[in-house]
């Protein structure tokens, strides 16, 4: 067992999600559960990657957190606590997003929590100029500013993403795809929020532009220090830019670990399958193995572990017991996984029992090992209060 180094700075939480459940449609109208019991904590400045196949619930989760999920989405359980830093400074206040009224939400939105959508072509108002779309939030949330100040800020924002100021008066259809996405990012950062949720922001772009934009994003994050929830189906992207990665399957979190831990030592068969799905640029040629089968339909979920029909390691217990997210047996890091292979009840296959990598660079988000709950307390959340 390698001792895990304690990180130098502990980021305080900015978002705490516990046992969140989301349905589509009300039960009386024949609704169906889309997300079940999702629990995680996001700290200031942390980049959380949310990965999974289409239909795994990652977008549903992301939109539900700021209560922006469209009809017929309904939140049916759990809590979402957002820690808002007041404008004048001082300790952050906890806001219960699920019971907040419209006005509270409106005051948080974009000031503390903003979003970047997948397709900028559809997310920008086609009949409004870029300047207007950048300054309307300023008008709403910074009422004391003069038009000149707003315009100055708009120019600043464009320059921040590398677009010249003469594009202010342009309409969205006059910009290229990459430029539009940059405008979206600039727009999301207009009020320097604490958390930016990005829903597949680069999926619609070509790889070259994708790389540019990701690099700009990371540079901005270094500079401004906001936390990110980055949703994507492209795991390889997350391995580079995420601090923590959460893998979702069938509306549940099945594994949560740092990027290094995940790529060096995956614990869940699904994560391993995902990692095996894209080839490495270097090294010997490997036979590519996909994951046989397809994700289950929301209306016809298998009993027990939702992944067991596609799992090569499925056992007896997997058909009836749904595993909970817990620290893998014998691990001392903060990572969690939901699989019976890791809780000591069954022997763990070698490829899922690789040793936790030693952290070469200190992570900002390491908790001291002593504070991480033992496997016997599977459902305890990690909060600041846990640390002595």
């Amino acid at each position: 067992m390698t001792a895990v180094q304690a990180g130098p700075v502990l980021g305080e939480p900015v978002l705490e999600v516990s046992k969140l459940c989301i349905d589509y449609g009300l039960p009386e109208d024949g609704g169906v559960r889309a997300v079940t019991d999702v629990t995680f904590t996001l700290r200031r400045g942390e980049v959380l990657g949310l990965a999974g196949e289409s239909g795994s619930g990652k977008s549903t989760l992301a939109y539900a957190i700021p209560r922006l999920l469209r009809a017929p989405g309904v939140i049916t359980g759990g809590d979402v606590i957002f820690h808002q830093r007041p404008v004048g400074g001082g300790p952050s206040q906890a806001v219960d997003m699920l019971t907040a009224d419209a006005e509270t939400l409106a005051n948080i939105r974009w000031v503390d929590l903003s979003m970047v959508f997948q397709s900028a072509m559809h997310a920008l108002n086609p009949v409004a100029r870029i300047e207007g779309q950048l300054t309307d939030v300023l008008r709403r949330h910074r009422p004391g500013w003069s038009p000149a100040q707003r315009k100055e800020r708009a120019v600043e924002l464009l320059q921040m993403v590398g677009i010249s100021a003469d594009r202010l008066r342009a309409f969205p259809h006059e910009l290229s795809g990459g430029m539009r996405q940059r405008v979206m990012i600039a727009m999301a950062l207009a009020l320097e929020p604490a958390l930016v949720i990005m829903d597949e922001p680069t999926t619609a772009l070509d790889v070259v532009t994708q790389r540019e934009i990701i690099e700009e994003l990371m540079e901005l994050r270094e500079r401004l220090g906001f936390a990110v929830i980055f949703i994507t189906h492209d795991l390889s992207l997350l391995l580079e830019l995420a601090d923590t990665i959460a893998i979702m399957y069938a509306g549940r979190l099945v594994e949560m670990a740092t990027a290094t831990e995940l790529v060096r030592a995956p614990r869940h068969p699904y994560s391993q399958g995902l990692l095996n799905s894209f080839p490495a640029l270097h090294g010997a040629k490997k036979r590519m193995v996909g994951i046989p089968g397809a994700p289950p339909s929301l209306r016809a979920m298998p009993a027990g572990c939702k992944f067991h029909p596609r799992c090569v390691h499925a056992g007896e217990s997997c058909l009836s017991v749904e595993p909970r997210l817990a620290r893998p047996n014998g691990s001392f890091s903060a990572r969690t996984v939901a699989c019976t292979l890791q809780d000591g009840s069954r022997p763990t296959p070698a490829e899922l029992a690789l040793p936790d990598p030693a952290e070469t660079a200190p992570s900002r988000f390491r908790t001291p090992a002593a504070a991480v709950p033992a496997p016997s307390d599977p459902n305890q959340n990690l909060t600041v209060g846990d640390l002595s």
Binding site: R109, S114, H122, A123, N125, P126, D136, V137, R140, H173
Partner: protein
């Protein structure tokens, strides 16, 4: 810009087609009908006028068809529509000049009201789905399905005849024994005009508003699924602004659908005029048909067609102004 130029080009072609069609109408009449008309006119017009009219309608063989056509086009473009048979040789253009303001007043005011009310109701119905306003859809379907003039008749019967809230005919009061109304910008006359405008105007509004309401509602529902509306809500903008953004985008297809319906509105209004004996072009046309006054008919047809084309053009102009994407160079 290219879009507008294409549209203008089309309108010119359509205008040309209308003039040509108009030219052929009297010539399509069965032979004896034409000579019957000319016979009927023998006592009314001078022999010289009769001869020129016969020439214009192709009853004599002195001019070839082609030269007749060019004469006709020339006359039309210079505003010479001939003489009206049923109005004692008054030039058609004079007759129409007197009727046109009434019709434009009726259609114009009704369309403005229907547009404003209809789009507002449609926006609210689209925004608040599943609410009470959704019931507006079957109600407006009700009005949409009844032919304009049947609706007018029903309104006339209920409000004009039975309840006697509003006058049952005319553009303004001509039967009042106590007061003689002088046409012009004076209040007694204007108030009488307004009073007489209510029923026919309401008919046109009720019959056409359904299209605006349902069209706007459906477009709002479709538009609200767009990401940029969700972005507006995500930005914490006020509900009013979010609706405004959605409506601003939803109105575009509604306007281009409006251009489709202009000629329907015009024909409907024409019929309403007949029901209410309103002194506009529609009523004039009805009388002209009964009297077989072909010069007047041709003139009316042309004027109405040009009016529809101009209205279409104005709507196209509005669309280009409102939708920056349409200004894209092709």
């Amino acid at each position: 810009m290219p879009l507008l130029i294409r549209r203008i080009g089309f309108y010119l072609i359509a205008a040309y087609a209308a003039i040509t069609l108009d030219f052929f109408i009297p010539r399509m009449l069965p032979g004896n009908a034409l000579s019957a008309i000319l016979t009927q006119m023998r006592g009314v017009v001078t022999p010289a006028q009769l001869a020129s009219m016969a020439a214009e309608y192709g009853a004599d063989d002195k001019q070839s068809l082609l030269s007749q056509y060019f004469t006709y086009v020339g006359h039309t473009l210079s505003g010479n529509f001939g003489l009206s048979l049923s109005h004692q040789e008054t030039p058609v253009s004079t007759v129409l000049g007197g009727d046109l303001p009434w019709t434009i007043g009726l259609i114009g005011s009704a369309t403005v009201v229907a547009f404003l009310l209809g789009t507002l109701i449609g926006i609210m119905a689209g925004w608040r789905r599943g609410g009470l306003l959704d019931a507006i859809v079957p109600v407006s379907t009700f009005f949409q399905a009844i032919p304009y003039f049947v609706l007018g008749l029903l309104l006339l019967i209920i409000f004009g005849s039975d309840l006697a809230w509003f006058p049952i005919g005319g553009g303004y009061d001509t039967t009042n024994r106590y007061v003689t109304y002088v046409q012009g910008w004076n209040w007694p006359y204007m108030s009488s005009v307004l009073q007489h405008l209510v029923l026919p105007g309401t008919t046109v509004v009720l019959a056409s508003i359904a299209g605006w309401i349902v069209g706007m509602r459906n477009m709002m529902i479709t538009t609200m699924d767009e990401d940029y509306v969700l972005v507006a809500a995500a930005k914490g903008l006020s509900r009013f602004r979010v609706i405004g953004i959605a409506a601003r985008n939803a109105i575009l297809p509604t306007i281009s659908n409006f251009t489709l319906s202009i000629s329907l509105v015009v024909t409907g209004a024409v019929l309403v005029e007949v029901v209410f004996d309103y002194p506009g072009i529609g009523n004039e046309m009805f009388n002209a048909i009964t009297a077989a006054d072909y010069p007047l008919l041709q003139g009316i047809l042309l004027v109405v067609t040009f009016a529809v084309l101009i209205a279409n053009f104005l709507a196209d102009l509005a669309y280009v102004v409102l939708d920056p994407r349409s200004r894209r160079e092709a």
